[in-house]
Symmetry: C2
Subunit: 441 residues, 2 copies
């Protein structure tokens, strides 16, 4: 099975655990068999590999998420990086070109596209295989998954099938309705449109060439920024006549808000937290080092990270976005391909961060125009290179770097350090990258 | 007026803002005229000086609080430091000896003793003057303040006066009663015992010599640790026949729990915090740099500090102590006589703190046996002395100190720095202090 996972989202609804860099799918909230926590993207990837160990998985995503994906899934996963955000039609077109031109997949093979963030069980991925097989038969150009509704939701689009059979041609599509209208649709056998569909690669390549003037993947990548944003549903699905839907009646949850997310949490408390006996329906998700103590609360979610602290009635938590929009703050933590960092102190003309490099990884060789930096190694061993000069480092070593000087650190073991940034105009934008010449390595 | 303020308390009830070092009276929660925040001890000291600018104020307290008192009230305030905690009779006896032998106050002068943490207005301090004047008349050996009860509290002891006049001899004292019994007392004209009393200095000196074998202040200080803990009420007040009570009907609040404290807060939010429109009766007291967002809560207090995060129903907040007892953690922030520090990162074999030295102040000259340290100066200017060698420092300068080496820093302007502590056994106990020889200064 060839599967493309669409990984988007800005992550404001799950503040303070999500931010511009870390969308909800990267938060480690779900328990694995061995008592650790995994994120949605890790869970989905693991589930796909369980159902089909030979599956080719490609994640279509933005530049901002690439580091986090490599950090969570390793370096081997296929990534189709969008140079900028342009909605789902350009994203699927780029992924189709990537699969053909970069991965060398035969255009006659089938591909399944699905969002990266449904909270589902293995039967969902078995259904994706059926979807793929059905698309391979050629009865229809597109085969959609239709999710059997559990309530008259106003949040989803609806698919009205021609029949109530497991596989049916589609009669029509309906936009997100009011609850009353949704009830009417459901009485007519409507299904939720979860944004999952399968097709032969050639079909989407043809559609892409119809609507966009490009030669191959690289050409499309280059002109991506000039494309108009348009959804795959609008550009393709709703116009297609030869289109089928397959019913899915298994568990399917869209964990987009704290309210729905906490329902799927295996433990009431993740991280350091205490609930007293008078708490009912309270969840604590605490990514800070210090404890949260909750007393006498009902149906409340408490979430803390280096970015801030949310305390919300669960129902109310779905209205969080405008409040988060009003909070102007820099990114306080991030996962990078080489490890992670966290801001631990901010002053007018300094910022102090804690950096964790994974064993065998290194930062880019880079310099800053407007700030000096000091590294103090806390633990681990590695090598720093500053203006071409190598130095082995370990706990207690200090490296000072003036503005303009080129520097990197390479971790032999996991390496933790404090980085003090000093200057009047500290910004993540102030970064110039360089190739490390061989004699510098 | 000579006034002794008793400053005690371990501060668990106002976790996470209070801890072993910072009792509730040092938390800056009350608004001053010029829109800054002051602590209870600052508020009380300011109020005393407003009512009687010539008042001699002595704070009887433990060693752990001395730095915070100097930091909040300056170096001029009198401090009678208890070498260890031994309840109020030894504390008052030590204070009486201190006033006589160190401050040189005539034993015929009167002294008023009162707790440092009542939330009151200026009329309370006017009443202290009356109490002092009344004690000076010599009609009684002790003159107590009796607070007119506002409800049948189970938290206070009661004083039953002989008459309902403004000044009356005391008939009897009653221990903390049940609410029903309290109602009965109140119907008989009982008053709350707020622990405020005035006397001629000689009276308490005599009582002290009666019960403790000592010569003068220094002798008493030396043998303080051998004394038995006993309250002044039990040792003196309840046994005294010549004792009067003066009624006080003004505002008097005992802000010992989050529930009562938030009632006195001038603003619903102190620090970075957002309440949405569906919040009612919610207070945020946030000493962290990141925002707290509260949504759809009712009668909840949220408090955050580098030590942790409390989210509690206001009623429930009075039952906090056993939960805080269960949280084992090091002190994460403290005010010192020279400034303050805050723990910003903890690892197995390192700890990183942010240090702020006030202009003109310096740390003790000291060394550590089991840890190396690195200082990175963030802002300000000053001078470091490491094993006798002086160095002027400013933003960006780095000083490294091996275990065993003696070091200090002297701030010319306010000086902020990051201190990284490195070692297997990091402890606040690991500190050896030295005199700075003149040629080193």
């Amino acid at each position: 099975m060839n599967i493309v996972l669409l990984s988007g989202g800005s992550g404001k609804r799950l503040w303070p655990l999500s931010n511009e860099i870390r969308s909800k799918q990267f938060i480690r909230l779900f328990k694995t068999d061995h008592d650790a926590y995994e994120s949605m993207v890790q869970r989905v990837y693991r589930q796909i590999k369980t159902v089909d160990s030979q599956a080719t998985v490609t994640i279509a995503t933005s530049k901002a998420q690439v580091s986090a994906i490599h950090n969570q899934l390793g370096e081997k996963v296929g990534i189709c990086m969008e140079p900028c955000r342009r909605d789902t039609f350009p994203a699927v077109a780029l992924a189709a070109a990537y699969l053909t031109d970069v991965q060398g997949i035969d255009p006659q093979e089938t591909v399944v596209v699905c969002p990266v963030d449904p909270y589902v069980e293995d039967d969902y991925f078995e259904m994706l295989k059926s979807l793929s097989d059905q698309a391979g038969k050629g009865e229809a150009n597109l085969v959609l998954m239709g999710i059997e509704p559990t309530y008259p939701s106003e949040k989803y689009g609806y698919i009205i099938p021609k029949s109530a059979e497991q596989i049916s041609f589609v009669d029509t599509f309906k936009e997100k309705p009011s609850a009353d209208v949704a009830k009417e649709y459901i009485s007519k056998g409507a299904l939720w449109n979860g944004g999952v569909f399968a097709f032969k690669l050639q079909y989407v390549l043809d559609k892409a060439h119809e609507l966009i003037d490009f030669t191959d993947y690289h050409d499309l990548y280059e002109k991506y920024e000039t494309l108009t944003g348009i959804s795959f549903d609008y550009a393709v699905v709703e116009k297609e006549k030869k289109i089928q839907v397959m019913r899915f009646g298994g568990q399917w949850k869209d964990l987009g808000t704290w309210n729905t997310l906490t329902e799927a949490m295996p433990d009431a408390v993740i991280g350091k937290g205490i609930l007293n006996d008078n708490c009912e329906g309270v969840n604590i998700i605490n990514e800070m080092d210090v404890p949260v103590l909750a007393m006498g609360l009902h149906d409340v979610v408490i979430s803390a990270s280096p970015a801030g602290i949310l305390v919300s009635d669960k129902e109310q938590s779905s209205y969080i976005k405008p409040y988060v929009d009003s909070i102007v703050q820099q990114v306080m933590f991030a996962e990078k391909s080489w490890g992670s960092y966290q801001v631990i102190d901010v002053e007018d003309s300094s910022m102090t961060i804690k950096v964790t490099l994974n064993a065998g990884h290194s930062m880019n060789y880079h310099s800053h125009k407007n700030r000096d930096e000091v590294w103090v190694v806390l633990s681990g061993t590695g090598k720093t290179i500053v203006d071409g000069r190598e130095k082995c480092v370990q706990s207690g070593d200090v490296v000072t770097m003036r503005a303009g000087c080129r520097h990197t650190v390479i971790a032999d073991t996991e390496l933790k350090m404090i980085e003090v940034q000093l200057g009047e105009a500290i910004s993540v934008e102030d970064k110039q990258k360089y190739e490390l010449r061989v004699e510098e390595k």
